[in-house]
Symmetry: C2
């Protein structure tokens, strides 16, 4: 099976590294330089202190009409619109898989002509060190859920076990995305604002109180069916990834754009829709927007 | 007139430096070492790049029964309880002046036996460089207002002009303290959390939106009589002190306790009393409490 992976950030590189053993993988990048370095030097996977180089095929997204059987879109949520614009014409692609955080990308999917669309969430910890190097910092899983059409060849991902890189299936994509959204909405903005690793949110009592206050607002807005379970899920993710810097913290530290629009922006929108005030989400939304691009130096 | 100044932080040292020319000033410190260094090397006042050494008398607070005519208490709000405990017995002091931020100290004043009590707020910018050196970073004024009894000899402060260190009088102490409280409640926690100088709050649009959201909550809780004026006052202080780090930011950076209890703690208490929700004040209260003592290194 031919698998295309669009986006060579931490998640794209990690997925490419693990799928490479079983499938014919092509990575599509936005930048020439990254495609070159991947083709010439290979992809470097770091896991528990061990390094492995994987020879990989990389192409420039803008040069190609994608014809892989399955295309996994692993770009940030705010770049999905661009990828969909590029992939609008009918092609050989049978199934698209979108691995974004938040909910912002879902309303864009109707622009795709491809019938089979799968949504996914990634629970691995991954850290990109440079254009060709990714570290697998936390073993987790990738959960897939059918959004439209059928799974098609993407079913192979669920049927073919890969050590340390399992795929699971969830019946309800909205429930799956919401569960991840709630985790991201609580952990990401708080760690980015306080500039702490995930574990600190549990370790410092006052930070845990901040989590509880924020969760309490979000659970009401999103009308979570099982609040206790959702809270315990947040705590367990926080504990499992205690030593990690969240993606939003890393984005702020690197002066990059964050995914706040698709995360707290979505919560605020839902609040407006349902007439529920969202003071903390709004406050944090502006805090993160203000911090973006300042590299933490005020 | 004999003036005692209790507390040799930035405001205590600044006040001592300016009053020294007109009055017989004694500074009371908590630490032996600071009293020694002030007695031996004098107080160093830095203003607009110029340095001046002022020979001053310093004593240890714990050793003395205060007998000055006027005693100015310039310790942090959370140390007022200790000072009042020390000054409880009747002494030669005719008038006490309290210069704290917030409102937390007001309920403690009933423990004082002295009849004349004056409250004040300081609008100067001051930065303590070391135990004997203070920089006058922003020319402002000290506002006094009668709390109980009469001004007594403290009236001399209002009648005797000192260049660059004016005293003004306000009729309503509660209005005076509230006005300062609102400024502190908005500027201090935000600058401490975002780790920016005061001016950034106006410069970055998203930070100004955060100010507006927080002000909007506080003005409701405190039932401010003139909201527009209060907002403009915040903006003008922010503009005048644009290049300064707020005291709360400095406290957080130095790993010290902040005055958050007397500031947002007071707002939260008022909210509870009046049945008005204070989500942002609570969230910020816990953020600052969590940051205290961590020196900003997570």
């Amino acid at each position: 099976m031919r698998v295309g992976i669009v986006g060579a950030g931490a998640i794209g590189l990690l997925t490419a590294a693990y799928l490479h053993d079983k499938y014919d993988v092509t990575v599509y990048t936005r930048r020439h330089m990254q495609a070159n370095v991947l083709n010439e030097q290979g992809l470097s996977l770091v896991k528990q202190g061990q390094q492995r180089t994987i020879s990989i095929r990389a192409k420039l997204l803008d040069d190609e009409l994608l014809t892989d059987d399955v295309v996994i879109v692993a770009v940030k949520q705010y770049d999905v619109a661009y990828v969909i614009e590029r992939c609008k014409q009918l092609s050989g692609v049978e199934t698209f898989i979108f691995l974004q955080n938040g909910m912002g990308h879902v309303r864009l999917l109707s622009h795709l002509k491809t019938r089979n669309i799968v949504l996914g969430v990634v629970e691995h910890g991954a850290l990109k060190h440079d254009d060709r190097t990714v570290e697998h910092t936390g073993m987790g899983k990738t959960i897939l859920s059918l959004f439209q059409g059928e799974l098609g060849k993407a079913e192979q991902l669920l049927m073919t076990p890969i050590p340390d890189f399992p795929f699971h299936y969830a019946d309800d994509w909205e429930e799956m995305l919401t569960k991840k959204l709630v985790v991201n909405a609580v952990i990401n903005p708080l760690t980015a604002l306080l500039r702490v690793k995930n574990g600190k949110l549990l370790e410092v009592n006052e930070y845990q109180t901040m989590m509880e206050l924020l969760f309490s607002e979000i659970k009401t807005v999103l009308a979570l069916p099982n609040e206790q379970e959702a809270w315990e899920h947040i705590v367990s993710i926080c504990r499992k990834t205690a030593g990690n810097r969240s993606s939003m913290l890393t984005d702020i530290e690197q002066g990059r754009k964050t995914e706040i629009d698709g995360i707290l922006g979505y919560v605020i929108g839902k609040g407006q829709e349902r007439g529920i005030p969202t003071p903390l989400s709004q406050f944090l939304f502006y805090a993160i927007k203000g911090l973006e691009g300042r590299k933490g130096n005020g």
